[in-house]
Structures are given as C-alpha cells and as structure tokens.
C-alpha cells in the first residue's frame, strides 16, 4: 500500500477541514472499509508522532457490557478522551477501531451522521460494495418483485424482524449505539421515498397492513380484546394459529391491566410467527417507556384502528399526525399544548362521525395546568371516555393534527413533530425535575 493515502487524508483533514470517517474514506478512495480503518489509524499515528496540528479522533467500540446482571452487546462511538473509560467499563471488548478523524473537537455526534449521509446517498446502489458485511442473498429486488412483496406482505418478514427486535428488546435499556439508532430512528421518520434502512421497510409494511385492516374493522366484543385478533384478521390464515397461541398470553395480560409489556414480549418471542401488531410493538420497545405501555395489548386492536382518531393519550401527536408512523417512538407524555388542542377535536369526533358502537372506557389522559408556583405540571389520570369505532377516523384526525402545527413548509412540520417527540423524550428524562424541564417544554 503506497503512502499516498496519508497525503490524501492530510489534505481532507487539514486543508479542507473535513471530518473523515472510515466509511466516507472507503467510498471516496474506493477501498474496503477495513483498509480505510487502517489508513486512518496509520495517519493518526503518523501525525501524533510528528506532533503537528492538533487532531481529534472518534472510535467505534463494540463489546459485551453487563448492566444489572443483564449482558448485552454494546456498540458505541466515543470520543478519544472517553475511550479508555469506556473500554474499562466493558466486560469484553470485541472490537475497537478509528471511526473518524477531524481537526475540530466535536461536541455531538450529529456531524458524523451528516458526513456519511451524503457519501452514502451518492453511492446508493453500491454503498455496501466496500463493506465488511455481506449476504449473498441480499440483492435488490426488481420492481415486479417489489410490487408482489408489498401486496403479499406477510408473516415471514415481520417474524424475522420480530425475532431480531425481540432480542434487541431484551437489551434495549442497555444498548447504546450512537451510530445505529440515528439511522434506525431517523429511518422510521424519513419519508417513504427515502432510501436505506430496513426500518423503513418495517414501517412501510406495517403501514400497509394497517391500511388494509382499518377498513375491515368490525364491531368487536367489548370484554375480550383477544377476540379482536380473531375478529379482524380472519383473512390472514397464517396468523390465526398464531392468534391462538397468543390467546392464552393475551388473556393473561388482559387480566392484569398494568403489567409491563416488555417481559410479555420476551415470552412472545417464543412464538415463531407473530402478528404484525406485536412486531410494531417490539420495534417500539427499544425506544418507548415501559410504564406507558400499560394496558396496551388489551387495547391494541381497538387502539390501532382508533389510533388515528384518538391515540393512547400518552402517545402524542406522532400518532395523530401522519398515518404512516406507528406510535413507534413513543408512549411518552406529549407536550401539553398541542395535546390540548387535539383533544377537543378528538372529543368532537365521536359525536360527529359515523358510529358503529359507542363504548365507554377508562383512558389515561394527561392534564396540564399551572400550579401555585407558576410551574406547568402535567398529571396523568384515568378518565372515563366514550369512543366509537369508525372508518372516518382518518380524515378528521388529520385535520386535528394540522391544528397544532403552524402553517409552514413541510420540512418545518417535520421539525415540529420532531420537537414534540424530542420534547417528550426530554420531559421523560426530566420527570424528576418536572419544573425545570417544564419551562422548556412550554412550547
């Protein structure tokens, strides 16, 4: 390997002041990623010996991590100054390599993603050409096959994904991959046209299923949520036996209202074929809060259909806004004001829309008010609410969702949605400091 690459990297880092990640380097120079990693390492070494201009590096560390008795595999991008600490915390370090080299000290990982984004986008068809991960059967589908796959959209795919998601679900409290989640989470929010990530296909398939299922919603027995599965998915034969398997589990869940979903999901992974609803839940389990999934399974079917009109109150506007995303990212308390605006709309809908069945149910609602100190306080409580199932859910709720969002170009809308989601995420973490974060969540 000639030494020219050192000059190349030098030019990128020092002259252009770029962030050089190994992936970007491999795509730019047309070399295998492992070669790129070695190049970066040698460059760093070389420059450090010369002790010339100051360089910063980030590393990708992957290994086993034990947290509260649970072992997980953790993959993280860490700054150089945190590297040794991080390695010390891991029980077994599987791999460490240079992730990027740059002149500036990066305060957050955002730019790393941005660097790779354009490089991958330009090489979309063959972005894995130099990758170390290969699968012989992973070839792009022709458009005909794609069409067929969408129409069929079956259990096998959600099953495979579910297994994977199930495993991730076990370790999700511990799993911290700064490189992967941005792509995973952002992939879920990306437009349908956006390329990449299996999460997108996951999203598209459940979406399609939901569209098909919603029109098929029929009156459902009140008491037994399990019957919901049978009632609506009659067309999906492969899923029937699954439902039966699910039934004993579901009924036990129904009996215990506040049981956490996670341990149940672990039990579910035993079932080889899972309904698509559970898939969504599992994929959500990575990011959603445990408490908020209370009672979800029992209302899952109803909720899914109803979700568009009146989502679980804790899951915020993300559910209401677009029909596409599943309330994936969250079962987190939403920001108060948009929620308030959405609620009146929701309440008016049951009366105006076609009603097939009116029921009352206990729904957990968040109530926000100013307390004596002038702090915004959000309280959650059960409220008895009447609801009905209707196929008209879709449009009215869409309008409702538009209200809290200002009339700005669509990219701003995404930002708002993101804000609300992120605001919810923050308020989650700041639950112990409600008053401090509450100030910032005002908007």
């Amino acid at each position: 390997m000639d030494e020219l690459y050192l000059d190349n990297i030098d030019e990128y880092v020092n002259d252009h002041n770029k962030i050089v990640t190994y992936k970007w380097l491999s795509l730019t120079l047309g070399v295998h990623v492992n070669t790129a990693k070695q190049m970066l390492y040698h460059y760093l070494d070389h420059k450090r010996k010369e002790s010339s201009a100051q360089l910063h590096a980030t590393y990708l560390v992957s290994g086993k991590f034990v947290d509260n008795g649970q072992t997980s595999h953790k993959v993280s991008v860490v700054r150089e100054d945190q590297l040794e600490d991080f390695k010390a915390k891991m029980s077994l370090v599987v791999s460490v390599h240079v992730y990027s080299v740059q002149r500036a000290l990066l305060r957050d990982s955002g730019p790393l993603y941005a660097v790779d984004y354009d490089a991958v986008k330009d090489n979309l068809k063959n972005c894995s050409r130099y990758s170390a991960i290969h699968c012989a059967s992973a070839v792009p589908m022709s458009s005909v096959e794609l069409q067929q796959a969408r129409e069929v959209q079956q259990a096998p795919t959600p099953e495979a994904e579910n297994k994977k998601a199930g495993m991730n679900g076990d370790t999700s409290p511990v799993l911290k991959s700064s490189a992967k989640p941005p792509k995973g989470i952002m992939g879920m929010f990306a437009n349908k046209s956006a390329p990449k990530s299996q999460d997108n296909t996951k999203e598209m398939k459940p979406e399609k299923k939901e569209d098909i299922e919603a029109p098929k919603s029929k009156p459902i027995a009140k008491a037994n949520p399990v019957a919901n599965f049978f009632g609506t998915q009659t067309l999906k034969k492969p899923e029937k036996p699954v439902k039966e398997e699910e039934a004993p589990q579901s009924s036990s869940r129904a009996a215990q209202q506040h049981e956490r979903s996670k341990p149940e999901e672990k039990q579910e992974t035993v079932a080889p074929v899972e309904p698509q609803i559970d898939t969504k839940k599992d994929s959500r389990s990575k990011t959603k809060r445990l408490e908020d999934s209370d009672g979800e399974e029992e209302k899952m079917e109803k909720k899914k259909r109803r979700r568009i009109k009146k989502p679980e109150p804790d899951s915020s506007d993300e559910d209401v806004i677009p029909d596409s995303p599943q309330p994936v990212v969250t079962r987190e308390p939403s920001s108060p004001s948009p929620k308030k605006e959405v609620e009146p709309d929701r309440h008016s809908h049951p009366s105006s829309s076609e009603m097939k069945i009116r029921k009352r149910r206990q729904v957990m609602k968040s109530h926000t008010f100013l307390d004596d100190d002038g702090c915004m306080v959000t309280e959650k409580g059960y409220v008895s609410e009447s609801y009905s199932e209707s196929e008209d859910d879709f449009k009215p709720s869409k309008q409702a969702s538009r209200d809290p969002i200002k009339a700005k170009p669509s990219s701003s809308k995404e930002d708002e949605k993101k804000t609300q989601k992120k605001a919810s995420a923050n308020s989650n973490k700041g639950a112990k400091q409600a008053s401090i974060m509450g100030f910032f969540q005002k908007k």
Partner: protein, 203 residues
C-alpha cells in the same frame, strides 16, 4: 417541472422561506457550536435529514423567529445583502461575526424537482461546515452575548412590528478582524457565502 421567474411572487416566497428556515437552523447551530449559551438548552432535531441542535428556550427562539420574520420580506425582494450573527464580549465589542452574504440572481427559474434536493444538499454542507468551524476559530472568552444584525440596502426599511434600531458603530466595527471563509454555495435560486470575521485578540 415549472419554470417560474422572480416576478412570480410565489416563487420569491418559496425562496425566502427556504432561506429563512436555513438561517434559523444555522443560527441555532452557531449558538451551540460557539457555546454562546449552555449546551443544556439545546436538543437534537432533524433538518435536511441530518441531526442539528436547536435551542428549547422559548424567548431565544422567539427572538430569532421574529427577526427572521422581519427579514423575510426583504429577502423576497432581494434587499437584504447580509445577515450577520455577531457575538460580542461583555463590553459589547464584537468578537466574532458570522456573515451570511445572500444574493439572488435577477432572473431565477426552477426547472426541475431535483433543484430543491440539490439545494438541500448544499445547505446540508453549510450545516456541516458550521459544525466544524471550531477548528479554524479561536475560542471565545466567556460571558458572551449575541445579536443579529442585518445589513440592508438603503431604499427599504424592515417592517415595524418588531423593534429595529440602527446598530451602534462600536457594535459593528471590529478591531483587527481576521477573515475566515467557511463555505460558498451557488445554485439556481440563491448564491450564498458564509465567512467569519474574527477579532485577532479575543481576551
């Protein structure tokens, strides 16, 4: 696939919208990267499909939005030459000035859908450049304040619904400035340049 010209008000508004959105993101990012405000008030958001940092502080956000709201009609008419983010020290002397020079070609046309994704790519590159500008700039002294200055041509005045004042000479003039160019972009709808004027001695 439409061809619009500047005379088309809709198109001018579209361009102004795009630029104002970009300026908002860029300003927040500058505040984050240059540590003008504590990083705790920032949260990660997404813009142009990449993560960016945006502040949650309502008054700060309101200030930025109000200013940009006033600038928008100027940009529509191509009257705003520069938008400057000035970082000042405790004595109100400018320490750093991030200058966005904006100009729009007189006869604009958008000819295809790929234009906007191309523009998005260019703006993404700007964002990336701001993220790494630390490398080329000296660090600022603590206790900074930050203002937005807009340089406009004489013939027009901004809207009066948000208070504007003529900037003081001492707030504008920088001693011994060093010029550090950051990024340039040229596209069918706008030409923009970002450079930083930095005071040679910051303490």
């Amino acid at each position: 696939m439409t061809t619009l010209t500047r005379q088309d008000l809709n198109f001018g508004q579209v361009v102004a919208d795009i630029l104002c959105e970009f300026l908002e993101v860029a300003i927040h990012l500058i505040l984050y990267v240059r540590e003008v405000y504590p990083s705790g008030i920032f949260q990660k958001r997404k813009k142009y499909n990449v993560p960016v940092q945006m502040s949650c502080h309502p008054e700060l956000n309101q200030y930025i939005q109000d200013t940009l709201h006033c600038i928008k009609p100027l940009i529509e008419k191509n009257d705003a030459e520069k938008v400057v983010v000035v970082i000042m020290d405790k004595e109100h002397h400018p320490v750093e000035r991030f200058v966005f020079e904006i100009s729009q070609p007189p006869l604009l046309s958008i000819s295809s859908d790929t234009l906007l994704s191309h523009v998005e790519q260019l703006l993404r590159a700007f964002i990336l450049k701001i993220s790494v500008c630390d490398a080329v700039l000296n660090s600022n002294p603590p206790g900074n304040n930050c203002y937005l200055h807009v340089l406009v041509t004489l013939m027009c005045l901004p809207l009066q619904d948000f208070p504007w004042i003529v900037a003081d000479e001492q707030e504008v003039h920088m001693q011994e400035p060093r010029l550090i160019p950051l990024k340039t972009m040229t596209s069918d709808i706008v030409k923009m340049q970002l450079y930083v004027e930095e005071r040679a001695q910051k303490t």
